[in-house]
Homo-oligomer: 317 residues x 2
C-alpha cells in the first residue's frame, strides 16, 4: 500500500463540494487525517453525524494547523476573509487551494494574505448539483468532470502536480489555464446560463396573465429544466455574479444582442433566420454527447412518470 498523498487535509466549508471531497479523501485514502471546519455549529454537527472527517472545528485556524493541504469550499465572497484568518496558522510549505467558480477574484482576495511559505493553487471543479449542504455530497460528483487549475506564475510546479494528482484521484480530468481565461469560459458555459435561468423563473413567477399554479403545472414543456438550475445555492451564485462582473456583463451583452436579433426575426416573420439557428445548435448538442459530457437519452433519461404529490384544488389556478 502506498502512503497517502497528504498527511492532514483541512476542509474549510463542508457543503455539497466540501462533503463530496471528504468522501473522496476517505474512499481513496488520500490523507491520514481530515479536519473539517465550518462557521455554523449546526452544519458542523451534520458533518460529524455523517462521519465526514476525523476532527471537527468551528475555528478554521485550528483546522489548518499542521495541515499540508487546505481547501476552501466556500462562497467566493468569503475567501479573502478566510485567507486572512488562516494565514498565521499555516504550516510551512502547506498547499492552499479552493473550489471557487471565479478565479480572478479569488486570487485577488486571497493572495495578499497568504505567506510566502505557502503554495497557492487555485482550482475549480466543474461539478455540482442543485442541492446544497453536507448531506448533498456524494463520492461520484467529480467523476469524469473537469477540474480547472489556474496556478500563478510563481507557484511551485510540484505543488500544482500534487493538486492535479489529488483531483485525478477524485475521478476528475484536470486542465490548466490562466485565471482570466477561466473566468471568460465560465461566464459563457455556466454563469450566464444560470443568470438567464434564474431570470426566466422570476419573470414567470411575476406574470398576472398566467398564474404561478399554471406555470408549475405545465412546466414539463421546457420551463422545468430552467427551474433546476435556478434552484442552485443563492449565496454562492450571488458571489459569482458580483465577482466575475466584467466577463458576465460582456457575455450577457452578446446574449442580449443575439436575442434582440431573434426577436426581430419573429416580429418580421423571418423563418429562415430561426431555422438556420435551430439547425446549427443541434450540432453543438451532438458534440457534447460525443465528448461524454451528457447523456444521449431523451429528456436526460429522467423518469418519465411520477405521481403528483398533490393535485391543485379546484379553482386554485
Amino acid at each position: 500500500m502506498t502512503a497517502p498523498l497528504f498527511d492532514r487535509v483541512a476542509l474549510i466549508g463542508i457543503g455539497l463540494i466540501g462533503s463530496s471531497l471528504a468522501l473522496n479523501v476517505k474512499a481513496g485514502g488520500l490523507a491520514r487525517h481530515v479536519a473539517v471546519t465550518t462557521r455554523r455549529r449546526e452544519t458542523l454537527e451534520k458533518a460529524e453525524a455523517l462521519g465526514l472527517g476525523d476532527s471537527y472545528h468551528l475555528e478554521a485556524a485550528e483546522a489548518v494547523k499542521d495541515a499540508d493541504f487546505v481547501i476552501l469550499s466556500v462562497p467566493v465572497g468569503v475567501c479573502g476573509a478566510i485567507a486572512r484568518e488562516i494565514a498565521p496558522h499555516l504550516r510551512q510549505g502547506a498547499i492552499v487551494s479552493d473550489v471557487g467558480s471565479v478565479k480572478g477574484a479569488v486570487i485577488e482576495q486571497m493572495r495578499p494574505h497568504l505567506p510566502e511559505t505557502a503554495e497557492f493553487v487555485p482550482a475549480h471543479p466543474l461539478a455540482g448539483t442543485e442541492h446544497s449542504g453536507p448531506e448533498a455530497g456524494f463520492v461520484e460528483l467529480f467523476r469524469n468532470r473537469w477540474c480547472i487549475l489556474t496556478p500563478l506564475a510563481d507557484t511551485d510546479p510540484a505543488a500544482v502536480a500534487k493538486v492535479r494528482t489529488f483531483w485525478e484521484a477524485c475521478g476528475a480530468n484536470v486542465e490548466t489555464m490562466t485565471a482570466e481565461h477561466h473566468d471568460l469560459v465560465l461566464a459563457i458555459v455556466s454563469h450566464v446560463p444560470h443568470l438567464i435561468a434564474y431570470n426566466i423563473v422570476g419573470t414567470a413567477a411575476d406574470l398576472e396573465t398566467v398564474t404561478q399554479q399554471e406555470v408549475v403545472k405545465f412546466s414539463a414543456s421546457g420551463f422545468r429544466d430552467f427551474t433546476r438550475i435556478a434552484a442552485s445555492d443563492p449565496t454562492m451564485w450571488r458571489d459569482v455574479f458580483l465577482t466575475n462582473r466584467d466577463a458576465v456583463l460582456e457575455m450577457l451583452a452578446r446574449f442580449s444582442e443575439d436575442l434582440a436579433s431573434l426577436q426581430r426575426a419573429i416580429r418580421w416573420g423571418d423563418g429562415d433566420t430561426l431555422f438556420d439557428l435551430f439547425t446549427r445548435t443541434r450540432a453543438i448538442r451532438r458534440g457534447i454527447i460525443e465528448a461524454g459530457q451528457d447523456t444521449a437519452k431523451p429528456n436526460f433519461g429522467r423518469e418519465a412518470t411520477a405521481t403528483p404529490a398533490r393535485e391543485p384544488a379546484p379553482g386554485e389556478r
Copy 2:
C-alpha cells in the same frame, strides 16, 4: 372486452408525437384500424418497418377516408394546407384533432377548410423529447403529462369528451381552456424557454475569445442543459415562433426587461437584489417537484459518468 373507442384513426404525421400516439392506440386497443400517413416516402417506410399502423399512405386524403378520428401531428405551419387537402374526404361526424404547440393559429388555419359535419377538437399534449422522427416515439411519452384541449364554442361536447377519453387512455391528464389563454401560458412555460436556450447556444458558438471546443468540453457546468432543449426539431420550433408571435414577443419583452434589471444589479454590485431573486426561484422548483412534474434527484438523476467518445486532440481547443 369493451369495443375500441374508434373504428379508424388516421395519424397524419408520424414523428415523435405521431409514433407515440400509434404505440398508444395499439397498446390500449383504442381503434380497430390505424391509418398512417406522411408526405415523405422514407419516413413512411420507417413507420411501416416499425409496425406503427395497419395501413400506410402517402396521400392524407386516402388515410382519412372512413376515419372517425383524425389527428394531425405535423408542424403548425402546414396544418392549414392539410386541412384543405383532407376536408373533402372526411367522413360524416369525423372528429378532427391536432397536437400543435400553438392553438390560435392552428384554429385560424384549419377551421375555414373543415366541413360543418366534422367536429374540430384542437389539442396539445405537453410532452416531447429533444429527439425527432418515427423511431423516437415511445408508449410512456404522455404518461402523467398534461394534454390541453381548446374546443371551439360550437364543438359538440360529446366529441370533446371522446378526445378527452382518448388522451386519458394514453396516460395524460386533460385540461380545457381557451386557445388564447393556452397560447399565453405556453409562451412562458415553453416557447420563450426554448428561444433563450437556442439563443445562448448560438451566442456561445459565435464567440472568438472562447473556442467551441471549450464550450463543449466544459458544458457540464450549466450550459449542457440548454443544449438539450436547443436540439429540438427546427421546423416545428420555427413554426411555433412564427405562429405564436404576439404572445412570444410579449413574454420576451418582460424577460428582457427583467434581465436588464439583473444586469444593472450586477454592474452596481447590488447583491441583495440577486440574492432575493435566487431565493424566490428555489420555491418554484419545489412546487414543480411536489406537483410530480419533475424528479427531485440531483441533476435530473442522469448518469453522473460517461466515458468520452473522443478526447480533443492536443492543440485542438
